[in-house]
Symmetry: D2
Subunit: 406 residues, 4 copies
Amino acid sequence: MTQARTGLWIVGAFGGVATTTILGLIALRKGLIDQCGLASELPQFEPLGLLRWDDWVIGGHDIRRSSLVCEARKLARTSRAFDESLVENCRAELEQIDQSIRMGVLWNVGPTIRALADAECQTKAEHPWESIGRLQQDLHEFRTANRLDRVVVVNLASTEPPVDAAKLPAAWTGMARLLRDSAETTLPASTFYAIAAMDLGLPYVNFTPSLGSTPPAVCQLAEQRGTCHMGQDGKTGETLLKSVLAPMFAHRNLQVMSWVGHNIFGNLDGRVLNDPVNKQSKVVSKDNVLRHALGYSPQTLVSIEYIESLGDWKTAWDHIHFRGFLGTPMVMQFTWQGCDSVLAAPLVLDLARFVERAHRAGETGLLTFLAPFFKSPIGVDEHNFERQFQMLESWVERTSQAQKSP
Amino acid sequence: MTQARTGLWIVGAFGGVATTTILGLIALRKGLIDQCGLASELPQFEPLGLLRWDDWVIGGHDIRRSSLVCEARKLARTSRAFDESLVENCRAELEQIDQSIRMGVLWNVGPTIRALADAECQTKAEHPWESIGRLQQDLHEFRTANRLDRVVVVNLASTEPPVDAAKLPAAWTGMARLLRDSAETTLPASTFYAIAAMDLGLPYVNFTPSLGSTPPAVCQLAEQRGTCHMGQDGKTGETLLKSVLAPMFAHRNLQVMSWVGHNIFGNLDGRVLNDPVNKQSKVVSKDNVLRHALGYSPQTLVSIEYIESLGDWKTAWDHIHFRGFLGTPMVMQFTWQGCDSVLAAPLVLDLARFVERAHRAGETGLLTFLAPFFKSPIGVDEHNFERQFQMLESWVERTSQAQKSP
Amino acid sequence: MTQARTGLWIVGAFGGVATTTILGLIALRKGLIDQCGLASELPQFEPLGLLRWDDWVIGGHDIRRSSLVCEARKLARTSRAFDESLVENCRAELEQIDQSIRMGVLWNVGPTIRALADAECQTKAEHPWESIGRLQQDLHEFRTANRLDRVVVVNLASTEPPVDAAKLPAAWTGMARLLRDSAETTLPASTFYAIAAMDLGLPYVNFTPSLGSTPPAVCQLAEQRGTCHMGQDGKTGETLLKSVLAPMFAHRNLQVMSWVGHNIFGNLDGRVLNDPVNKQSKVVSKDNVLRHALGYSPQTLVSIEYIESLGDWKTAWDHIHFRGFLGTPMVMQFTWQGCDSVLAAPLVLDLARFVERAHRAGETGLLTFLAPFFKSPIGVDEHNFERQFQMLESWVERTSQAQKSP
Amino acid sequence: MTQARTGLWIVGAFGGVATTTILGLIALRKGLIDQCGLASELPQFEPLGLLRWDDWVIGGHDIRRSSLVCEARKLARTSRAFDESLVENCRAELEQIDQSIRMGVLWNVGPTIRALADAECQTKAEHPWESIGRLQQDLHEFRTANRLDRVVVVNLASTEPPVDAAKLPAAWTGMARLLRDSAETTLPASTFYAIAAMDLGLPYVNFTPSLGSTPPAVCQLAEQRGTCHMGQDGKTGETLLKSVLAPMFAHRNLQVMSWVGHNIFGNLDGRVLNDPVNKQSKVVSKDNVLRHALGYSPQTLVSIEYIESLGDWKTAWDHIHFRGFLGTPMVMQFTWQGCDSVLAAPLVLDLARFVERAHRAGETGLLTFLAPFFKSPIGVDEHNFERQFQMLESWVERTSQAQKSP
């Protein structure tokens, strides 16, 4: 039996996470690396029959012109994220994928991201509805050219400034009308990609804190087109730790008085987050977990600062001040030294596989069982990582059993 | 309806954990402190109808002569564990409890613990069976004098050297015969207290890494006398963290290459653990968790060192070296600065309440649902803290429902 | 021979550092504490013949009404800075000193400090020259009432917003004229106290990052009145560490690429520094050291955040990213958990003693040999702590020898 | 003017530090790296007229057969110490140097080091005096073949077990007689190399904690042959930090109550130190500094543990518990993540240059001004790093001035 070929379309395809994801996928195919870091390779997910690495075809959008080899070398050299020889060994495949990367859109991305964009992209005069049409044309050509059964669209582009979601139309018909009738919009680029993909019936994943498919009107579109989606903001490091440590304090009835988290790093994402407007989306997303997992709101502080020399190595220091029995104050501190792109990339591959499987199984709407992968899982109140992981395991059980039934 | 009065009999009653437990119980009764640090006060345990703080009467064994006021002051002054005014406010009650503390036994506790004992205790010439009889006489008098329905016995004494459990008789009859017939034994003091208690039908908790009720023959005794027990080694700090962090690494398929944990502290427990023989029991117990929670054995190192100036403040530094995607090595480190007695004491009160409730409900044998409180929960393979906590929650549900049924 | 009695006049007398300084001085007199933390008690300073603790009389200014006992208890209870029994043992002496604390001035302290002030202080309508006259009247009365030979004035008040020093008159005559002729001024309170003291010939120490005696015109006043002074910003914790660690990196030719320092604490000083305007004075002062000690400017980040639960315990995390041989990047991190007032108070006593000695020896102008005590020592380019300490030792040698000569 | 060619003869030439030293020297010559990490390149040392990198010729002894390319690749791959492309770029030069590496000696190196040795080396049956003769023959041939004016011998071999120096003869004549007359000796290999070199008039540096040239009889030999030497144990990381931090605590009169240092790493040196006998030499050396720099002995603990996954990356955690004013206990902690070979290698080059210069200037005996480079500088009581550095600067000044005089 030949397995169907599936596309993975990456928005922000020349970014650090995207480059590492693509490099990793090629390296997996060539047997150059093992399955380390890939949750979807855990034994409990075997019954799902997830796609193999050979089954995926890559394409994407970006607002900068670059080449994957150049971006991968930068990660190897300036950040020591991985060995440069890995890039050389995957060079031909990376160069071929460069051919499938198209020009993205810049709607409401803020001046810092806009400044990074290619001149052609910056000066493009398009009506909102034209932008969506162009994105869909790119997806359509990718699907046809590669004879793909399915395409999973994943947003890995830089964090956009926050949008006042309360002012958006609640229904898809209203939002569609606005996009068609007005030359202006408050919707950000991430939502354009979500609409373009889901209107074509393709599943969509928002791995960033940007708006993406979060608005109710876009969720409605997903239901109407019979496709699925999830977000938002991949949970890779400090927040992942919060989602296992906070429940521990809660179960011991230890009162967290303050939780301070300072994050420093120096990649492109860091440069964008250095703009206070873009940073705000991120900080809110990182801070949510504690309140939910503890059941109350201790004083918290989350900082994200751009320190150039660190490159892709995100270092977090967290200081947790808590009260124990008899009111005695105690302290836990941790430092996390993780390579950001290398932590995120396998989650992107995991998500692509799980979402493809869910779409194949006919799931529509929000895939809430993917909560363990997100800092702010849409539609999910559970922020305890272990219980989120159990949600995923339950879905696996249901889906595997459905498969076996006639 | 007047609730039954219940005894809490503490082995090692003048130790730091015991002193803090007793001081805390009095302070709770007098409304001097809040419920911080007490898991049994969490809302999900309300349906159980646990005993109130007023319902408990305290007594115990120790091998040193001292007074609770003196021990509590030492914790306040040299360790800054809590404010000395708290001790003064509970002085009368502490002095009264001193009257209910009896001389313990020294069987196979090793030279370091023996050297701490009172001269009378050291020179006592007793046959093993006489020792058990004396301990039971103490428990009997305590129960009668205070007209108690139930007595929960908790072992908080210093860690004994390890015992080769494989050489012990497998059945209670065999063990009982040996204790009766021979003037010598390899059984340690902790097992004497366990036998004394359970032979009288009293529930027993082993909060230390000592042997206690772990031998199959002693487990059999529990079943025969229709009582319940659990152990071993209270999970207060570094190991608690391992049992939430290791599953996180496992769920992300991040390969832990090495996990180093250095612990330093300066209380009496630390002085005993400074003896390599006694330390061995502890290190084994702390190291178990990783293998179970990860599913493989990374290189591990656990050190426990006596640093006098730290007093009761146990400071742990853990260095976790792990491999991510593409084989990239990364590091997480944490430091934990916790006051040992203050972390352990509320767990002792929690355990006493849960065990009393289980005994009241007619549970016999090992109370495996108490796993979240122990480093090495007897009879339990689950070392993931969240899943252990769910075991406890399931029991609560079962027990609460049974209560409601006619 | 009876030694002369000397006054120590503290600006900000009810603050945390001041309260701890005064409590410590009393405790030293009564033999309740040892000399720990007092540099002036080191053997190398013995030849100086510094004043004994009995020789000092305390008074001061503050803008809040309070009592030293109340402030000291707060430090003991909410911050666990020291044992409350120490306060009780010094109660009578503290209450007596309350009588010698007068109402200060609020010139250009910024809205955050102003909001903390007593209503009477806030509404006082005074011409600048009247303010100086009132402060001098307080000092005069203190000196007369206690028959003091000398009074050392030390500024311990909250950090004021920065002042554009370039716009101030360069000469004392110009500044004096402005103060006399205009109802308004840009000079902050700290400079008012400096002028008031030095115009009377009294030595002045600025232990804060506020302007104080730094303007050239005020330095000129010191010379004209034959008195001495020094500042600014006491070097207690993180910056002290920078001034020993940065030279180490320099001597090994290890290139510091970035140095990030995050400070969190929760005392009154922290609340004032939470106002970005006041914080700016502090951050600049803390950041100076690196540039001087390294000889180049790596990327630096200094944050100071108010975390209420920490009280007086200032916790700093520093992350130092450096390049070694072959360009290999490496990392040093440190955390510093120090009690702010307890670290600062002995330095205040040390400075009072050294300054008194210098004044007695006839020194005038800037006392640059006190550089090791300050983050931004006025008129000193040396930021290597060890070499600053050697400057102090050289002065001791010179002064001790002068003493011996006929 | 052509500058004289000088040899650098390395004992332990295939070890991690040696390999990095040699690789670095070649890379400096080829302009592939900058001067980062090299103290001798600081501006204050310019007047000395130190040798240029082109002036050095490399040779050495080792007990293992290997190749520098192979050892360098291992450091690049398993430890990520530097980029592998650097090795490839220096390949030809490294292979040529392999030709000048001769078989060393195994006298009293302990079983762990012996087990690492080549079979030929292990089975060699030599009289002590023959061993010295063979080593000298190797040095002689190296000097002749390369027409060298001078050869500096540096010991970088693994740490030997401690030797009871008190039992050794005090004078060189006595030691020489013993070596000639007896087939056995308690002298370790490191001392054999020292004797071989200095007996030929060559300067010798002991960069390890092994005995080397420390015995008085060997010091006497240096004086008699008019040559110079220094040791012992290069100061690269944790101890370097102690020698700047301990003086800071001393100058502030802050009482260090305990100083705990845990070191973990996984290179060959670590494997040797995992043998408790070899480790003892190291721990003693690391612990000396505190006592001298503080003037008293707090409780200290130094551990060095072999954690394979860390490779050459030595990670140290230090916990410093100190008492401040009013007896308040506080804590400083630091972690140091340094690549051991990369930290040590430039110091070896620095020492070779300074020792060559001193020998050229006619210095004989111990070069105590090199104290800042050593954990246990022979003949030096000063353990304050800054003051040690000033000793070096003073020598530079003296030597530069002597140069200028006619």
